[in-house]
């Protein structure tokens, strides 16, 4: 009797075609899987997808709204990717974003007498520092006592979000805001300028410039080289005399700082005040974006744009009578399939026929 056995064989090199096709197939399968929920909800999935795509990319307005969502995704994903390069899994971009938003808001509302020209830079600096500080807690615990950063960064998200909420419902609540949990509107000088009549703001430029800078840092600098070695093998890094603990702290703080900057760009560029739903889960989606883009800064720009479209199509879904959170579900499903696809990138599947006695 012949029996076929499925064997996984580790690949020595990954052909470019596999690297390119596996994520595409994974996304396709994610769309198929999510269809089930559309069907259960009584919708034709193909029509829904066409509508979603049209909503996000089919008109100038759609594209501009997609770009508005792209900005925080891009900046957060760049931040997350910095940590991922050293195999530090910062799942706390969401909380770092909130802390950045909080610090930027503090500057805009409560620091008097900043020269007009310095207002935005000071806000940015405050947000960068706040994000870095929020990441410093897990970073130092990781560096000194090897505490798992996945858990600490994730748990601190709740602390950050609830801290912001407590301020919004309490001390920072706008006295003229009809009791809504939000702060007062920022002065115009604390707002990132927007392009024309759209809601797209300077944050987009900041994100793209950051992507270029990160590309240069990671491919051309001495420190980038060290991070590359440390990300590949801690043992080799120690052997070469690199200081791992110090770099854990630096990398995680830098990662947090960038996520914090995304928070500033949201309050200053989009809402003009600190509000409850300052983040549309950007910090979490950023993890998927960074992963899908394989940490390449330029790919992160592209993937952020696609995911921005997915988020902005949430309203299209809502209009069709399904919950907007369907777009998160689709995101999650995509990550799920992409992670499963990793198997096929790392291994070759072989079918072996065996004779069985």
């Amino acid at each position: 009797m012949a029996k076929t056995k499925i064997m996984l064989e580790k690949r020595l090199t990954v052909p470019t075609s596999v690297k390119a096709f596996v994520p595409i197939i994974a996304i396709f399968l994610a769309l198929v899987a999510t269809s089930i929920f559309f069907i259960v909800g009584g919708k034709n999935p193909i029509e829904m997808y066409i509508e979603m795509f049209g909503g996000a990319f089919g008109s100038w307005y759609g594209i501009s709204e997609t770009l508005v969502k792209t900005i925080p995704l891009l900046i957060c994903a760049l931040g997350v990717s910095v940590a991922f390069r050293m195999q530090l899994y910062n799942t706390g971009a969401e909380g770092q974003l909130y802390m950045g938003a909080l610090a930027a808001t503090y500057v805009a509302l409560f620091v008097p007498n900043i020269p007009t020209l310095l207002r935005l830079p000071v806000m940015m600096l405050a947000a960068l520092l706040a994000g870095a500080l929020w990441a410093f807690i897990p970073a130092i615990s990781k560096a000194l006592w090897d505490v798992n950063e996945v858990i600490t960064t994730l748990l601190l998200n709740y602390v950050a979000i609830l801290t912001v909420e407590s301020l919004l419902f309490g001390a920072w609540k706008d006295p003229n805001g009809f009791n809504f949990p939000q702060t007062a509107q920022f002065d115009q000088s604390f707002r990132l300028p927007a392009f024309g009549t759209t809601r797209i703001h300077m944050g987009l430029v900041i994100g793209i410039v950051l992507a270029v800078i990160l590309y240069i840092v990671f491919s051309k600098t001495k420190w980038g080289y060290e991070i590359r070695v440390m990300g590949e093998s801690k043992r080799v890094a120690v052997y070469s005399g690199m200081n791992i603990s110090r770099n854990i702290v630096i990398v995680l703080c830098l990662s947090g700082a960038l996520a914090g900057l995304a928070g500033m760009s949201e309050v200053s560029g989009v809402s003009g005040r600190l509000i409850r739903s300052i983040s549309d889960n950007f910090g979490y989606s950023a993890i998927i974006v960074a992963w899908l883009a394989r940490l390449n800064p330029f790919m992160i720009i592209v993937v952020s744009f696609l995911f921005g479209g997915l988020l902005s199509s949430g309203s299209t879904i809502q209009m069709a009578g399904l919950p907007a959170s369907t777009s998160y579900m689709l995101q999650g499903t995509i990550l799920f399939f992409v992670l499963a696809g990793e198997l096929f990138i790392r291994y070759k599947v072989r079918f072996i026929k065996q004779e069985v006695e």
Binding site: T13, K220, K222, W223, Y225, V236, S240, G241
Partner: protein, 505 residues
């Protein structure tokens, strides 16, 4: 002697690239304690893995109590009463002793705690295996955990007990207790096989000894008809091609001085025990010894990767004890680590990145912030050409390269910055003759340039070819250091098993 219980006939087992067992035959009788003696890689563990059903031999036959068996899985061996206590215990730490003992056994729906404890206590009394059945594994000492492993086997009705280097983790008192237990088991008609490379244990506790070397069973001797001298000779082998590479030459000033250094291994056990030695410029100090006697720890302490808990290390008079790795590299210490693929080189990184590991901080290759791309590429290409490293191009990840080429690349990097001290650990392990020659020539060239070289090897032939002096390492210290001219294989073999000449045989 009792009945023949285990007979392995003409066992052969190959792994890709190596023959682990070649025509090995082994007979074990009821009531005996049988030692398997041999160096690392002699094939002891493979042979026992075959007997316990972990591996299937390529050819050969196994008879248990006269009956031919074909083990398809470890379970088949267990059913025949064969049990093995591994060097790394297979115990679930948060579980109790009793829970571990019954783990994996078919049983009733509900666990009869009292009965199990009673049975365990019965076994412990019978064989002097003191242990608290209710204690959790993590609360027990290593010696006690080993007792649990043995009880586990006895509970399963094991009467052919195999122990893989059982004394490696024990204190001397515990060793005595262990062998008293094993003797009482043998007296009750169990057959005991233990793997070891410690001569005194063999001479003290074994009834018969089978020596393995290079995958072959060289001889089986009765304890009363042999001596540690004879066994050492069998274990190490005599026929060596003595084509000496080292042409001698004047030795210079002392470069490395190690003074009463102590250090611990990853498990927190003492691995270096007040070790002291020195190496002069142009000297190759060979270190012989069975792996696991502190060689790796010594190399890591010298290269700054591991902390010395006591003592002092100086390089050309400068104190480098527990200095950061970077300062030690800057002081001129090259390190060829034991596992070239995972410590010395990063597999997924390119040849360029790997070549830069030690020198990337130099002004020549990087400025304040940026790497000097051009200089880096030129350097990498230059080294690849000079050292004849076979590689499609310098942007390739190094994991594509063969072992010999990897080692060439590593040595190219480590010798090119003009090191004052080279620490080389098993530099030719797994290499073919061509690559071995290349590596040896390189080290000799460095010796001629005046580098001090510490060559740690498991291959006596290599040491006799290369070393000016040969030190023998055993349990974290040097048993003795012998000039090449006065060294002989037998004496070194004995020292490797912990026997000082003149005290035995």
């Amino acid at each position: 002697m009792g009945n023949l219980v285990v007979e392995m006939k003409n066992i052969r087992k190959t792994f890709p690239g190596t023959v682990a067992n070649d025509q090995v035959s082994l007979q074990i009788f009821e009531g005996e304690i049988h030692a398997l003696l041999g160096e690392n890689g002699a094939g002891k563990s493979t042979l026992m893995s075959i007997l316990t059903g972990l591996y299937k031999p390529d050819c050969g036959e196994i008879y248990i109590r006269g009956e031919k068996v074909d083990f398809k899985a470890p379970k088949d061996a267990i059913d025949r009463g064969i049990g093995m206590v591994h060097q790394h215990f297979k115990l679930v730490k948060p579980f109790t002793v009793a829970e571990n003992v019954i783990l994996g056994l078919p049983g009733k729906q509900f666990i009869q705690q009292d009965e199990i404890v009673k049975e365990i206590n019965h076994i412990s009394e019978q064989f002097g295996l003191k242990v608290d059945a209710g204690a959790k594994i993590w609360q027990l000492s290593v010696g006690e955990q080993q007792r649990v492993e043995i009880i586990k086997m006895l509970y399963r009705g094991t009467n052919i007990m195999i122990l893989d280097e059982p004394t490696a983790v024990l204190t001397p008192q515990e060793v005595g207790e262990l062998f008293r237990t094993l003797r009482s088991m043998a007296d009750k008609n169990c057959a005991i096989i233990f793997i070891t490379h410690k001569m005194h244990e063999v001479m003290e506790f074994a009834d018969r000894i089978t020596v393995l070397r290079g995958g072959k069973a060289i001889a089986t001797k009765e304890n009363k008809h042999t001596s540690s001298n004879e066994l050492a000779e069998l274990m190490v082998g005599k026929q060596m091609s003595m084509e000496r590479k080292n042409a001698g030459g004047e030795l210079g000033e002392v470069v490395l001085k190690v003074d009463k250094v102590c250090a611990q291994n990853d498990k927190g056990l003492q691995a270096l025990n007040n070790i002291s030695f020195s190496i002069r410029a142009g000297e190759i100090l060979g270190v012989a010894g069975v792996a696991g006697n502190g060689q790796s720890v010594l190399s890591e302490v010298l290269s700054g990767m591991r902390e010395a808990t006591r003592g002092k290390i100086t390089l050309n008079g400068e104190d480098i004890t527990n200095k950061p790795v970077q300062s030690i590299i800057d002081a001129g210490v090259a390190f060829i680590p034991e596992d070239r693929g995972s410590t010395g080189l990063a597999g997924n990184l390119s040849v360029i990145d790997n070549i830069m590991l030690k020198e990337y901080r130099c002004k020549k290759f990087s400025g304040g912030i940026f790497m000097k791309d051009k200089a880096v590429r030129t350097r990498a290409q230059e080294l690849v050409d000079t050292y004849d490293v076979k590689i499609p191009n310098i942007d390739c990840p190094v994991k594509m390269m063969s072992g010999g080429n990897l080692q060439k690349l590593l040595l190219a990097r480590e010798t090119s910055f003009g090191p004052k001290l080279i620490v080389a650990v098993y530099p030719i392990r797994g290499l073919d003759i061509g690559a071995t020659d290349f590596i040896h020539d390189l080290l000799i060239a460095e010796k001629a340039k005046g580098a001090a070289i510490l060559l740690i090897s498991e291959d006596l032939e290599e040491l006799f070819k290369m070393a000016d002096n040969i030190a023998v390492m055993y349990e974290g210290e040097f048993m003795d250091t012998i000039p090449y001219a006065k060294a002989n294989v037998n004496e070194i073999g004995l020292l490797m098993s912990g026997v000082r000449s003149g005290t035995n045989g």
